[in-house]
Structures are given as C-alpha cells and as structure tokens.
C-alpha cells in the first residue's frame, strides 16, 4: 500500500530525489554511495504530492531537428542480448522495485501530448468515426493519372510513392501473391484502432487502381534505388515489376494500402528508450512514458509484433515541434506482411535470448509452447492470428524494447483500458474499414479481436482494482453522534466506476469491495467490505466508521496542506475465485468544513 509516512523534516520532497540534489556529489558513483548513505532508502511520496505532467507541453516550438537514420541492428542486438541479460539478472525486478512510468497524472493517467491524445477512452467514438479514423478524404484522388514519383524495389515489401490530383503523396504497398488483402486490410484496420486508441498515425486507405492510371512523373525526376543503391530513372517497366509481385483483382484492378505522407518533414524514427537530444520538448525517458509502455498491451491486442522503432516516425509539424507517429501496420493481426503470421510471432522474440539458451544447453529438448502448436491459415485475406491460445501476459513483439519490457501492472492496466474501451460495434466498424473480400473473413477477424480484447480485459483488470472516476458524493458533515458531538468526518459515500463490470471482466454479482481508509497523521484506520450493486458499473461505497474509531472534526481541521490527505484503498474481491488483485489507492483531501472531502488522486 502506498504510504504517507515520511521522516521528520522531509514532508514534501520526493524521496526518490534527483541525485543532483545531493550537494557534495560530483560523480555518479559517488552520488550513488551518498544516496545509499543518506538520500535513498525512503519511499515514494503519494501521487497527489508529486508534480503532474502538463498537457501539450511538448508541442512548444523547437528549432528544426536534423534527420535521424539509426542502424537498427545495433539497437536490436543490444536490446535482444544486453537488455535481456540485464533483465534476467535484474535485482530491481527480483525485489519488485520496478520503476513506474513517470509521466502520470494524479489520476494515474497521461495527458494529451505529441505522443498521444485521449480519444475513444475519454469519449466513445461513433462507429462512423472509428471507420474513418484519421482519414480526411476517400484516399488518393484518381480523377487524373497518378504520378509515380519514387519506387522501392529492394527489401521484403516493395512499393512505390504516388502523387494524386490533389497533390497529396502516398506510399503504396501491396499484398503478397496468393494473399490479397492480407497486409493491406490488416494495415488499415490496425490504423483505425490505434488512432482511436489515441496514437498518432498516418491516413491509411485501402486503394484500388488500374495500372493504366499510373504514369511516371518525369518532371520531378522520379528515380528508384536499386539493389546496389544506385539511383536510376524510374520507368513504367519497373513499376510493372513491382505490380507483378502481387495479384490483381479479377477485374484487373490492383489493391493496395495507400499511406498518406504525414504533414511535416520526416525526422526519423523515435526510440523506445532515452530521449531525443535535439528535441527540447522530449522531457521523459521514453521507456518511462506510460503511452509507450501501455502500447505493449494495445500491440498485443492487434498482434502488432513488428512494433519496433523502424515502424515509428517523428515528423516536424506546425508550428514547429516533433509529433511522434506509429507507421506501417502491415505486420499486424494475421499478417506477417509477406506471409501469414505464425504461432511463434507474439510468443517469442525474433532472437529470444533465454529460450535460445534453454535450447542450447538442453540439446534442443527445451520447448516453448508454440513449437508444438498446430495452426493453419484461417483465410488468405486475414492469415493466421491466435484467439483461444492468446495469452496477454506472455505476448511479445518480435524484438524487445525497453518501454515494453519495463511495463508494470499499472501501465498494462492503462493499456488494457484503451483496449477495453472498444465496443463490439466499434471493432466491427474498424474491420469494415479493411474492406475484406468476404463476410467470413470480416466476421472471423471481428470475433478474434473481440475475443482478444476480452482476454486482455480479463487478465489485466484482474491484476488491479479497476476503479475509476472516483468522487465523494455525500460526506458526513453536519452529522451528530449520540452525545451531540460532531462526528463522522469519516462517514461519506465514495462513488466510482468499476471498469471490470463496465468492460465485462466480471459481473456485479461476482464482486465485493474491500476498503480501508487510513489517516496516518491521525494514526487512525477504518475498514469495511461491501458487495457491488447489480445493474450498473457505477458503484457507491458507504464509508462509515464506528463511533469508537471516528476522528474528531477538530483533529482533521488542524491538519493542513499535504498532511490532510488520507488514503483509501479499494480491493475488488471476486466470488468466482479470481486472483486477488492489488488494491487501488484513492487519495482524499480534507478541504475544510465547507468543502469536505474530495478525491485528489488515484493509483492502481
């Protein structure tokens, strides 16, 4: 449980204080020792006493940064080997002292920023809004010929760039032969869902065209980089070579995903750890950003195994800041871009150090579950994606990254809330945006996404007490005891939403709330238990302290500032034998006789 106790003279300072606050320290090693001796060891201050992140603080104008073209392999090797070794022998992990995300509000949430904007979780979007997602048009304007201005003929996923009649530019990519709609539909569906979840994504469209609608933009000097990285003039023959890598529709059209250029110049990908030095707005270490940690859960829902920094982009947008995009969702859902996904993806990293070591030292007898899993393509247009076998707790992207691996239960719950915010109807609308070729594929994919959503909600909600929107509705001010004295400052009704009920993880009949109200400064404690009221996810707890326990009004009134905060923990007990979860801690502040109690913080 979070505590209020602190040592004398340290009433407000965060105890995990910055090393630079230790005056005699000059070097990190010395600082560490000093920290051990005098600065460390104390516990985190309660959430409401910490500063909060500031919405859109990272959208202040900055000088235009340079490009960033990292060699991904270097980071991949580092994360996959050093990172895994570090995590494998991590004392922090062993003793349960994992670092929580830094950019959380007093209510355990994030603010809108250049990384994330609350969308479906704060206001239920209509199915139509989900269907449209980030798009502003119907896709490339084909009222005139499409000018091919660049092509990518190397790599595993060739494509080209076109400019339409409106002058908009699109990256166009195709499905592998024999799997029409596989990657294009997956890309668009995931695009809609990630947008609605709150992430910045480009405008992606399912796009059908005839080869005759293409022409080479000779004025712009369209070129292609060949396998030898030699830039050559682009020809229609090269474009036809790219088209030959996919199948046309029966009518002769080609289907593709067209991803509109995001506004502003591309400044390279963002990493899942550290900060970008040339971005003064980049304040929080990326691995400690809640949006990126929680993205792991959203990615698990969408089976976005290719969530790595190569599929991200920083764009320098008006009035001059870096907005952080997720791009290229071709390897999501059942699609592995150039083939259907396989059971290993989502279960084991591309290079997973510990299973690899396990196989090495057991002569190959160490087995991971996917190795014996039977599977087959569900439909060529959706590939393969697990439903019953999906385990939210063990899902992995193809490559580790620090934000995902540093994810705590609180982060995961936050991500699960994003996933749980999607209704069946909304999911159906997103799938419809993929324009899958048959009803079987659409219905099956919708059912899988619903099933995976439910699994995520059931799993992660059970790890916390998913209570939200807490509010003191009625307090005990004015009540009098038998002796006529003022009583029951501890008597009030705490209203909240049980997201477990709202999102179907359990029913009201299955839940009981166990609460405990504690005021350290008064050294008083009250506790109780109450069943959930059926019929709604809105719940109310009557917090009534016994007469012998009740604190005097004067006792509270004497307390001011931070020390007037009391903590109330709420644990959800499930009658179905569900695992006991960690409690939510609500922070209550006494605002004086007139204001009474109010909720000033919430920690899951």
């Amino acid at each position: 449980m979070a505590v209020l106790s602190r040592g004398p003279g340290d009433r407000t300072a965060p105890v995990g204080m910055s090393l630079t606050e230790c005056p005699a320290a000059a070097a990190r090693a010395v600082l560490l020792i000093v920290t051990a001796a005098g600065c460390g060891g104390a516990r985190q201050v309660p959430l409401p006493l910490r500063p909060q992140p500031i919405a859109y603080a990272d959208t202040l104008p900055i000088p235009e940064p340079g490009g960033f073209e990292p060699l991904e392999t270097r980071y991949v090797v580092n994360d996959a080997v050093s990172g895994e070794v570090s995590r494998g022998i991590s004392l922090r992990r062993a003793v349960g002292e994992n670092h929580e995300a830094l950019n959380v509000t007093h209510f355990d949430d994030v603010v809108n920023s250049a990384w994330f904007e609350h969308r479906n979780d704060s206001r239920r979007m209509t199915p139509e809004e989900i269907f449209r997602g980030p798009t502003t048009t119907e896709g490339p304007d084909t009222t005139a010929l499409l000018a091919v201005i660049a092509a990518k003929v190397q790599g595993i996923s060739p494509g080209f760039t076109v400019r339409d009649a409106r002058g908009d530019r699109y990256v166009v990519k195709f499905d592998p032969k024999g799997f029409l709609y596989l990657s294009s539909a997956a890309g668009v569906i995931s695009n809609r869902l990630l947008y609605a979840a709150g992430y910045h994504v480009p405008e992606d469209y399912i796009f059908a065209f005839r080869s005759g609608q293409l022409h080479i933009d000779s004025e712009e000097g369209a070129t292609v980089i060949d396998d030898d990285f030699v830039e050559r003039p682009l020809t229609l023959e090269m474009v036809r070579d790219v088209l030959a890598l996919t199948d046309p529709l029966p009518g002769g059209h080609y289907v593709a995903v067209a991803s509109k250029y995001v506004p502003g110049p591309d400044k390279g990908p963002f990493r899942f750890d550290g900060t970008r030095r040339d971005d003064p707005n980049d304040h929080y270490d990326h691995q400690h950003r809640r949006e990126l940690r929680g993205l792991s859960v959203v990615s698990s829902w969408l089976n976005h195994v290719d969530m790595r920094f190569a599929n991200t982009m920083d764009a320098y947008v008006a009035p001059g800041y870096l907005r952080h995009y997720l791009i290229d969702f071709a390897a999501t859902l059942g699609s592995g871009t150039i083939r259907p996904h396989e059971p290993r993806e989502g279960t084991e990293y591309n290079f997973d150090l510990w299973p690899t070591v396990g196989r090495l030292f057991t002569l190959g007898f160490y087995h991971v579950g996917w190795e014996s899993q039977e599977w087959g393509v569900i439909d060529p247009s959706i590939g393969w994606m697990s439903a019953e076998e999906f385990d939210p707790a063990t899902w992995k992207a193809n490559w580790p990254n620090n934000a995902f691996t540093d994810m705590t239960i609180r982060d995961a719950y936050w991500g699960a809330k994003l996933v749980g915010s999607f209704s069946d109807e909304q999911i159906r609308a997103a799938v419809a945006a993929g324009r899958l070729p048959n009803a079987f594929a659409s219905d099956t994919l919708t059912r899988i996404l619903i099933h995976r959503r439910n699994r995520i909600v059931e799993h992660w909600y059970a790890r916390v007490a998913p209570v939200e929107n807490l509010k003191v509705e009625v307090d005990g001010r004015g009540a009098q005891g038998d002796d006529g004295a003022a009583v029951a400052l501890s008597s009030f009704v705490l209203a909240f939403d049980d997201y477990g009920i709202r999102d179907g993880a359990w029913t009201a009949g299955e839940a009981t709330y166990e609460w405990e109200l504690q005021h350290d400064a008064l050294d008083r404690r009250w506790a109780g238990r109450q069943g959930a009221v059926e019929g709604s996810f809105h719940q109310r707890l009557s917090v009534l302290a016994g007469a012998e326990d009740r604190p005097g009004r004067a006792g509270f009134a004497e307390l001011e500032g931070a020390d007037s905060i009391a903590t109330m923990t709420i644990r959800v007990l499930r009658h179905d034998g569900g695992k006991s979860n960690r409690p939510a801690t609500a922070y209550l502040s006494w605002g004086g006789d007139a204001a009474g109690y109010r909720v000033v913080g919430l920690e899951h």
Partner: protein, 452 residues
Amino acid sequence: MSIGSRAALVALWLVGAPGLVPAGAAQEPSPVSGGAVSPTLDQETGRYAEADSIRASYVRPPGSHAADWVDVVEFPLKAIGYPLDVVLVKLPGWLVANVTAPRPPSFLVRAYRGMTGWGLKPTIRTTIGPRSGAAFEFLFSRYHPFYIHTAVSLRLSQRHRAGVLFAGGRSWLSAEVKWERQAESPFYGIGSSSEEVDRAFYRRDWADVSLQTGVAPLSGLALNAGIGYENDLLDDPVRGGAESIFDSTDFDTGLLFGAEERTEFVRYALRATLDLSRWRDFQQRGVLIGVTGAYYEGANGTDSQFHKITGVVQGYLPINGRQSLALRGVAEVTRDDEGNGATFFHLASLGGSRSALGFPTGRFRDRDMLALMSEWRYEIWRDIHSVTRAEGFVFLHDGTVAERLNELGDADWHPSYGFGMRLARPEGLIGVAYLGFSSEGVTAGIRGAWRY
C-alpha cells in the same frame, strides 16, 4: 524579456493550448495540438526564446528516475558488466550493424562483384591439405569450360591448377593439371600408439595431371572414373620454426617410403556414390553410401604398387523437425601389392573433420583406419522468416588405425567429443564452428562445409 511580457506570453499560451492546465482535469482531446502561439524564431540563436522560457517554467515530474538503493546495490555488478557488455555485445552489434547496413556497396564489395561478374572469383577457404590455415583463392572461369584456380594459405601452402570441365545433364568430363605444396604437414609416427610429442613436419610438393569422368545414371547414384599421374617430393617444412621430420630423432626417415626420394605414380580410381540424402527444412535426411577404389602404380623408377579402398556410410535420422542424429562410418584399407608398397603420406589417417574432430588432421596413420562418428543436431534459433537457423550440435567420435582391419580391436582407440554451432539454410549448410576435445587437448575451427 520582462516579467510582464513573459506572463502575458504564458497566459497567451494557456489560452491557445488549453491542455496546459493541470492534467487529470484536462482530458478532453484538443483540436489545437501544437498550440495557437505563433512562434518567433530568434535568427541569431536559432531558438524560440519564448518557448524556451515557457518550458523552463514548467513544474512537472522528472524525466528520469532518480537513483535508489537498487541502483546502489547493482552498481558494482554494472561496473563489472559494462566492459563485458561493450566487448561482447555492443561492439559486435555495432560491427554487425555496419556490415549489414542497407547502404551503397563499399569499394571492396563493388570490386568483389565486379571481379566475380568478370569471371574472377576470390574466396577464403581452408582446403590446401592438412594444417593449411586459411587460404586465399582465386578461381578464374571467364572462358568456360576452361578454368584456372590458384590459392595460397597462411602457412604458405599453395595450390595452382588449370583445366577444362565439360558438364552435361548427367555426365561430366574434366582434365586438370595441378601443382600443390602442403607446406607443413604433420607426422606423428605410424600406428595407433604414436605419441603427440613426436610431432614433426614435412613439406610435400605434389604435381598432378588427371583425367576424370562421371555419370549419374539414376537419381542419387553417381559413378566416377579417373586416371592420373602424380609426382611427389618431400622436404623440410616451409616455415623454419616447425621441426622437420628429417631432423627429428624420433623417426628414421630412411624407413619411411616416400620421405627421401621423389615418387611418381600413375593412379587409377573408381568411385561409386549412392546419395539418398536430402536437405529439407534445414535438416538432412536419408542415407549416403560411397565406395572409392584407387590403384597406384609406380612410374619412372618408383618401385611400388599399392591400392586403397575407402568406404563411407552416412545416415541422417530426424527425431523431429528440430532435432536429428547424424551418423557416419569411414573405413579405409591400404594394401601393398609390389615393391615398397604405399608411401607413408598415402597411408590411411585418423584425425580432423573427416574422421575424428577432436584430433588434428593426420594425427594417426597406418594402413587401415576405422572411424565411427555421431552428431546430435538441434535447432536453437531460426529467424522469423525461416531463412536461416542456428543449430547446436554435440558430437562423439571414435576411431583407430592398425596394420590390418582385423587388428583394430587390439589397437588403441581414440575417442573425441565436443560441441559446436551450425548455421544453415533450409536447403543446405552455411558454416560450422566447433570445439573438439580429446585426450590430447582441444581443437577448434570454423568451416564453410562439413563432412556429413
């Protein structure tokens, strides 16, 4: 900037960017992401001073976690681990990243491609006889069917050959002239009890002219026949530091036929191979049986006739898709027919990847040899697109040499064992690295091909 103007700017920003109010209270999506303040760029500093001042005024959570007791306790571990991390991971990662980076090919790569395209292919191998060391090779095949191949190794072994190769659908014919120098061939004595400490070296200069032909009448069955002339002359090893067999007190080279005289032979050879093994999904499966017979007839005064017969059986037993057992048996028989019989460097030998990986090539010599080899191969990793996979393997080899096959039971057998890693494609092997152990120490190697 005055306090007043700064306050005004902050106020303006707050109006323009409503999200600046404390979080938790402001969760509504804002259509004005990016703010409504028109930034003014300071042309001299290249910075947005107003934005900088607003940013400096923020009170928000720290961007990094402060150190705590866990960091203190872990610090020594990290201090020790950091250099290891740099050497074992970061540096290799950086190297791999730079080598594999998608970028225009370097001058070396372009030169290699240009040479290869022109018909001159440079490679690095370890193929010039025993104890050769890595060899740098050039194969010139621009004027097919003619070819020229030349190679020099780190220990100065050499191989130079030129020839013509006609290959049809199921048959082939070749003629070749070769000169080869094995600069530092080891010799430990004859018999299964020869001592490691007796090791000495010799140089073998070998000139060879051959005509060979082959036919594959059935799928998997290949029949080869050849005739050749070879001329061998032994001398001190090329490198002065290696002890010569001619200086060794352990051997009387006068008793080793072929050591102190030039020998010349006409060679007749026949080989039949039934290869029913196949690569499928990274695994070899099936059986290979091969028999080779060679008859050596002394020429130009060399008083010798002898013959050699070699039999090989290889079997591959997949246990499942990820584990398999590979077995190999090799038997070699050398028989004197007339005169001095077989030259000592033509005797059967045990050691090396062909017969006993835990011993160096040519460690034991005698007329006959039997080697039994087994490898347990298993997948430890494969890339996400199943283009390559890494396999571990452990091996146990055993074998011996003797005057006669029926004396093998009384000879000293020499087991060796070890482990290694293989990198394979679905349809073949890319390379192998191994460590072998035996009663005489450790062997290690990296190879681009494997005997079985």
